[in-house]
Amino acid sequence: MVIMRAIWFVSQIAFFGLIASRMVAVEDYFRYYVGGLSVMTLYSAAIFIGFDIYEEAEHGVFEYLLSLPVTRRELVLGRSIGGGLRAFIYVGPLMCISLYVIGIANPTNFLLALFSLFLFAFGISGMSITLAVVIKSSDRFDILMGVLDALIVRLSTAMYPLSFVREANPIYGWVANFNPVTYAADLFRWGTGIESFLSFENPLLPLLGIVLFFAFFMFVGIVLYDKSIEGGGWQ
């Protein structure tokens, strides 16, 4: 899985990124695309934890985790952070390739961006876990993840600047404006110095968006998790 993702990532940079940047009349599109691609890859790695939930339920590991002397809050927090960290471990080497390609202009900005990417990964993991336990069906979850991937990633600024999204359709622009992938991609580009097409002038705005997204799925998600799990409905 990791190897497959790495091959896909490198191919996207080496082929799609290079070729598309010659077609697109956006300044420095290649670096812009590589930054967005890193966030997209992080998203798809972090979302994967939801599938683990079904596997755990199938093998009864869920029962074990639920019987441990820890609170549900600690359990969700632990799983989300674990899922986010795992995503970072998977994507870490690919991020390094990205950074080699696009460079780092300001180390302080980059560290702040990296911190926000951690929160983004934890939030995506939390979202994935919450949706998995609420939906309770691996097939339906699979479909929803496909739909979310299509909408959240495509209607973000991961692959194209916000001004172009707005031009295509104001509703698309509105969605992209309230999208955690947009916030993460913006912060990553800001952190690495690709500032020509940032969606927000003030980086604190996307940072706030990511913090809110993380907080929502950490703490509101716990309530849903509690209600969905302890009733035994997942059985």
């Binding site: 683990d52 029962e63 074990y64 019987s67 441990l68 820890v70 302890e230």
Partner: protein, 321 residues
Amino acid sequence: MAPIIRMVNLTKKFGDFTAVDHLNLEVEEGEILGLLGPNGAGKTTTILMLATVIRPTEGTAYVGGYDVRKNPDRVRELLGVAFQEPKMLWVSTPWDVVNWHAKVCGLPTQERKRRVREVLEALDMWDYRHRSVHALSGGMRKRVEIAKVLIQRPKIAIVDEPTAQIDVVGKHKIWRMLRELCDEGTTIILATNELYEADVLSDRVGIMHRGKLLVCDTPQKLKDSIVGGDIVEIQFEAEPSPKIVEELGQFKEVVKIIKTMASTLRLYLNRVEEVVPKIMSTLMREGAAVSSIRMSEPSLDDVFAHYTGLTLEEAQKGGGG
């Protein structure tokens, strides 16, 4: 003293299926309570409710004074569970599984390392500690599962079929370890469908069938509750006189006497251990020449059959989930 676990009309329904049906049961601190029943009797569902893994549909249970519905976090602090199917997590070796469990249960590093070693050695799993759990046999995986409870030493341990798939020597070792755990102050709930296990390990046995608790008492009292359940077979050297048969029939413990052969009497009676000396003195007084005497008392299988009308094997075949 208040019971450490009190189940009050504890009920769990999955759709139209009632897995546990208005269970009322108390468990005293420091005892081993065996829950005996075939697959589908509701033992595991009861355990999952006590462990706060699933919420009761109706009724509740108080564990250490805490309501499983209202204070599940406090309940879990008191419990350790060894599941029926070993739960191996995503980690890959017995050492990882047990060490991770001990870590989550809050054992300090040094104590954790020492106890992981102690428990794995005691369960004959130390040599296999770095082997992938996926390469272990069913019995070995089961040992790793039971190791979690042994290392945790919780206030209340719940063990679901702890010796399933384990060889005879291993079974005895685990029974001894569970008994030691109990002696150290842990209350144990043992869910099993092995009659002998329930008999040798439990202070009291609750028999469950189709989600209901049929009876709960000490194994001996359960056996004694079967009227005429004990059997004494006396083989005489010659046909016994009618007087002997009449005198034996006068003991209040004797329920029925059958002459199975010309020189053999089979007595169905209660409390065999008390009545045999009286039988012996009668036979000696009458000068009866006896070739042999065989005694047998009812097993828990007989008790189960007495209360359900089915043998455990028959109930297992017809049992639900």
